[in-house]
Amino acid sequence: MKKKRFSNLKERAIKVFFFTNSVFATLALVGIFFLLLFTAIPAFKEINMGEFFTSTRWNPTSPVKEGYGILSMVVSTFMVTIGALVIAIPIGIGVAAYLSDVAHWRVREIVKPIVEILAGIPSVVIGFLGIVLFGPIIAKIFGTSNGLNAVNGSLLLAIMALPTIISISEDSLNAVPKTYSEASLGLGANRWQTLIRVKLPASLSGIIAAVMLGMGRAIGETMTVMMVTGNAPAFPKGFLSSIRTMTATIAIELGEVPYYTTHYYALFAVGFVLFIITFFVNMISDVILHKYQEREQ
């Protein structure tokens, strides 16, 4: 009897131990949120909140008057992200459709791991390739002095977002019930019409979620954009101008800034804004994917 009680206790202790470990993930997320928030707050003792969000002038080291406006970098971030999506969405959905509807299953078994390799390349290596490979080509095509601009960043981010978009879009295309396409084919439509008019619309929510996830990745990517976009801290004039994103600003300046200064706190404020943006983008894709899975079940 005593032994039984002991083993019960042990079982309970084991369960609690595993539970504690899983709760840690929640604590980490909440911890990141609050620590960023509390480190960002002191920045607003000296910076006007309105200026922070609406001014385009970011110049924390100016001897005359420091500028702490993040609008330029927010616009820059969204510019490269949108550029990346314009490239990645058609190609990504194209590959996903090819894999789910055209390719033989053997081809699929080979292609999927190959696409995974692309996802495995470290971002710093992709950034390096952006400098040595794409930079000169872009400079030549557009006639700019160097190829370090938003176009380069968009191209690389598109390549980085592709594996995510492909794999999740393909999953959602495969999840469309067979009866849908059978009905369409039975009514005389060919496979292309079935794909475009039946399967794609039916899997649209999953594809949107895939795009949102790719977008979240592009917004938060640091090394690649920092290495290839030229990092001029001004309001972007166009895709051929040098830009500096939120992530790049943090990465460039955090190394040089003295701890516990307004500049230091301001960088954490930028990080907090970045966290909130990616959080909502991921949240939306999560909600869409979840709804979609529940409907399928």
């Binding site: 595993f18 470990n21 993930a25 990465a251 990080g271």
Partner: protein, 283 residues
């Protein structure tokens, strides 16, 4: 007839999309491979950088990446596995489990630079680990955690319920059934997912830039409190920060190749392992 042409053209277009992706990958691998191979030598792998990093090798960076990945593994691997065991074996569909799952999914979408900021506040400043292997490793561990949890859980899910029920029916306790009938079969899958997560962490730059990676440090790290050189950060330095960029380009290519081989090598060995295991299970 027109319908047929559109279909053929459409499918051709889809195939072109695939070729574009392949082309990118091939160009990437070819460029790094062909230009990096010339730099690669035993000296390059076994010596420290010399003469303002214009000569010599990348040995300290290899060692640094190795050490920091070990710290990452110590945090992320056991914790990820334990959390996965709870979520898949013990948890019922309650509000708390839903929140935990939601946090894990969201945590995996947090930008790596934000983990870097978190590392600076918590590990470098609050816990006073300073810029060190420990701080960088823990930051990367946190970044890897959602990945190891998710992949471990996937592995646990593949174990059929009959295994658990068999043990329970014979009078085993819950933990006994997990330990004897679930974990041994799920372990290979859990390990493969975990190694993939570690490979990703080994290639990360942004989180370690401010938590411990050093620009140039010819000596090897002695303890967890030391700064270290790391392959990805070294590549960043060689590609953009060095004062003689064009002169050190070969070194940058060589570093990129070593980093790529390391990360992809981890990926490949895991894929191979998974393939072999699947074969064994089928037999």
């Amino acid at each position: 007839m027109k319908k047929k042409i559109i279909e053929t053209l459409g499918f051709f277009g889809l195939r072109v999309c695939l070729y574009i992706v392949f082309a990118f990958l091939l160009i990437f691998l070819y460029d790094i491979g062909s230009k990096g191979a010339g730099t690669l030598s035993w000296e390059f792998l076994s010596q420290a950088p010399r003469r303002g990093m214009t000569e010599g090798g990348i040995f300290p960076a290899i060692v640094g990446t190795f050490f920091v990945t070990i710290v990452t593994a110590i945090l992320a691997v056991p914790m990820g596995m334990f959390a996965a065991i709870y979520l898949n074996e013990y948890a019922k569909q309650t509000k708390i489990t839903r929140i935990i799952r939601l946090s894990i999914r969201n945590l995996s979408g947090v930008p790596s630079i934000v983990y870097g900021l978190f590392g600076v506040i918590v590990f470098v400043n609050i816990l006073k680990f300073g810029t060190s292997i420990l701080s960088a490793g823990l930051t990367l561990g946190l970044l890897t955690l959602p990945w190891t949890i998710t992949s471990s859980e996937e592995a646990l899910k593949t174990i059929p319920n009959s295994y658990r029920e068999g043990a329970l029916a014979l009078g085993a306790t819950k933990w006994q059934s997990i330990r004897t009938n679930v974990l041994p079969y799920a372990m290979p899958g859990m390990l493969t997912g975990t190694v993939l997560g570690l490979a990703r962490a080994a290639g990360e730059t942004a989180p370690i830039m401010f938590t411990g990676a050093a620009f140039f440090l010819p000596i090897l790290p002695n303890s967890l409190d030391d700064q270290f050189m790391a392959l990805p950060y070294h590549l960043y330095v060689m590609a953009t920060q060095h004062h003689a960029i064009s002169q050190v380009r070969p070194i940058a290519y060589g570093t990129a190749l070593v980093l790529l081989l390391l990360v992809l090598g981890m990926n490949f060995s895991v894929a191979l392992l998974r393939y072999k295991l699947r074969k064994i299970r089928k037999e």
